[in-house]
């Protein structure tokens, strides 16, 4: 009877194009959003079928507050609003977000078309609060000039890192995703020497080799984002970061998006980067990159999206017989006196 839950298409090879849409759902529009969620799969197929080799994919995430409004009942164990992480010098902000659409394809037109269809459907029901169009930059480089995402887990390690397993059986096959929109101070960054940049990132710039441990500073980006659990094993996340920007406005950024089977590892990374490990030893990359947004979402399974459970209070009025509700409405409610 138990079926293996089908995860959303989280684990893909890096794509040429991506769009990141974060939306806030209007009060009272929960039912309409629920309808859309069930249709997302169909929309992806409709748009994607036009260019099959484009490999269009879209992952939908639900924010903590929306979960209560839309689903209620038992929650994914790790779903909560992202807490702001305030370090001595830099702060990881927490910004509103009910819905995340992580749209990816080999071509920007596919992403754009799907985003357009989704937002069209949600017009009047949800507002887009953040929209980023990402592009692949040369060999997966960010706008700081470094290769990003090299240490993504591969093979069986990828689903083991990104997907919920037996630890939360009701939500197995789901995932957690954190997004942050970073803007870079390229002028200051480019004023540094390449070797200085390499010590900040923890990898070589040209050929993307991790610096040896004896050279790699403890406040480098790579050092602080290497998380080891109590058993001494490295805990990984799956990242699909993308550069974006507007040259005329001098806006150069990296959209961080990391999937993990639990939010703890994502939050540990935030703590290491912003507060520092040990505290004060913060990620030097933050001196050149500012987090403008930050949100945490739960990524349900395909089955869940197609038929989200109804909230507990709505359940009693829709699933049970109508008369029972009527009887408890205006009735004196005397019932049995035994």
């Amino acid at each position: 009877m138990e079926q293996t839950p089908e995860p959303q298409a989280i684990l893909l090879v890096p794509t040429e194009a991506a769009m990141f849409l974060v939306l806030c759902v209007n009060e009272g529009a929960e039912e309409d959003v629920r309808d859309l969620l069930a249709d997302v799969g169909g929309l992806i197929r409709s748009v994607g079928f036009r260019i099959p080799e484009g490999g269009l994919g879209c992952v939908v995430g639900l924010g903590s507050a929306l979960w209560d409004r839309l689903v209620g009942g038992p929650r994914p164990a790790g779903l909560h609003p992202l807490a702001e992480v305030r370090g001595a010098r830099h702060t990881a902000v927490s910004t509103p977000g009910d819905l995340l659409f992580h749209i990816r394809a080999g071509r920007a037109d596919l992403c754009f078309e799907l985003a357009q269809r989704l937002v069209e459907r949600l017009r009047g029901y949800a507002e887009v609060v953040d929209e980023v169009h990402g592009f692949k930059s040369f060999d997966e480089r960010d706008l700081l000039g470094f290769v990003d995402g090299t240490e993504n887990p591969v093979g069986t390690a990828a689903p083991a890192s990104a997907l919920i397993g037996d630890e939360d059986p009701d939500f197995a096959g789901g995932s957690y995703v954190m997004v942050q929109r970073y803007l870079h101070d390229l002028a200051a960054w480019d004023a540094l020497s390449v070797s200085e940049q390499e010590r900040i990132v923890g990898r070589t710039k040209l050929n993307d080799i991790e610096l040896p441990d004896d050279i790699k500073p403890s406040n480098s980006h790579v050092a602080l984002n290497t998380i080891v659990n109590d058993d001494g094993e490295q805990v990984q996340i799956v990242r699909y970061n993308m550069p974006f920007g507007r040259v005329g406005d001098g806006e150069f950024g990296t959209y961080f998006i990391g999937y993990a089977r639990g939010p703890e590892v994502l939050e540990q990374m935030l703590s290491n980067m912003f507060i520092g490990n040990p505290p004060g030893n913060y990620d030097r990359i933050l001196d050149f990159s500012t987090a403008k947004t930050g949100s945490l979402f739960f990524v349900p399974t395909v089955e869940f999206l197609e038929d989200p459970p109804t909230p507990p209070d709505a359940r009693s009025s829709t699933e049970e017989q109508q008369p029972v509700v009527e009887a408890s409405g205006d009735s004196l409610g005397i019932g049995s006196l035994r």
Partner: protein, 266 residues
């Protein structure tokens, strides 16, 4: 809005609260039958029949090689007690008057509670077979003097035991019998009520409308009151002086085990 049309009445929210609370207070003590039979539901106003799980044969079928059966159901009855409330009284209540005259409601509550008790214990002609109508036992006579009461109850209990009906047992007393029982102290000063309670191991219930008394098993599952719409106040009409309301319920009653009760008659 449902069929009770409450929102059409010229009654404030506080007024409705007052009326509902008054009705509950008046109904609860008088609804004796509900204290001794199983209560199912409420299933709502649109619930029209209780499933009996029985069929009756049909003499013909619409096609050859086909046979048919017709399901039997027990149709619900609607009981309604109309009353009037003075709008002036309701307005004063809204101003904070604590002694609003709700006499019309009080009387209607008593009427419909008595009707429910009668329907359950003595039936509703053509619609409901009551407990005493269904019981196969000969009624036990309640003879004078009152001191013989425990003996009569014991005799009834003996009949139930002989039929294999286990306790505990309740005694539903009509208004007159109830008064007699609570007034009486036997020789030695013990209250008759206490004596009977020891015999029964179950409640003694004031059940206005019942003739004499009924001894009824409380083991459960023997008598089922199927509620469609539980007692509710609905709106009928109003003029400048009064609003015409009604107390209403729909229900059926079935004696599943008719021999689990015995009547005590005077």
């Amino acid at each position: 809005m449902n069929h009770l049309l409450r929102s059409l009445a010229p009654i404030s929210d506080a007024g409705w609260q007052l009326l509902d609370e008054e009705a509950r207070q008046r109904l609860a003590p008088a609804l004796g039958a509900r204290k001794v039979v199983d209560f199912a539901g409420p299933q709502g106003w649109s619930h029209s029949a209780t499933n009996l799980g029985r069929t009756s044969p049909l003499s013909s079928a619409p096609g050859e090689g086909v046979s048919g059966l017709q399901r039997q159901v027990l149709a619900l009855v609607e009981a309604r007690a109309d009353f009037e409330i003075s709008l002036e009284e309701l307005r004063d209540a809204d101003r904070g008057a604590g002694d609003a005259d709700l006499d019309g409601l009080d009387q209607a509550a008593h009427r419909i509670a008595v009707a429910e008790n009668i329907a359950v214990f003595h039936g509703w002609s053509g619609a409901i077979v009551g407990v005493t109508e269904a019981s196969p036992h000969d009624p036990v006579a309640l003879a004078e003097p009152i001191e013989q009461y425990p003996g009569a109850v014991a005799a009834g209990l003996e009949r139930l035991l002989n039929s294999g009906i286990a306790g505990p047992y309740a005694l539903a007393l009509g208004a007159e019998e109830h008064q007699r029982v609570i007034e009486t102290a036997e020789h030695g000063g013990e209250l008759l009520l206490k004596h009977l309670q020891r015999i029964l191991d179950g409640p003694i219930v004031w059940t206005p409308g019942v003739e004499g008394a009924v001894l009824i098993s409380q083991r459960g599952g023997d008598f089922v009151f199927d509620s469609g719409q539980d007692l509710s106040i609905g709106y009928d009409s109003h003029d400048g002086q009064v609003v015409r309301l009604y107390l209403q319920e729909s229900f059926s009653f079935q004696a599943v085990t008719p021999d689990a009760a015995v009547a005590l008659v005077r």
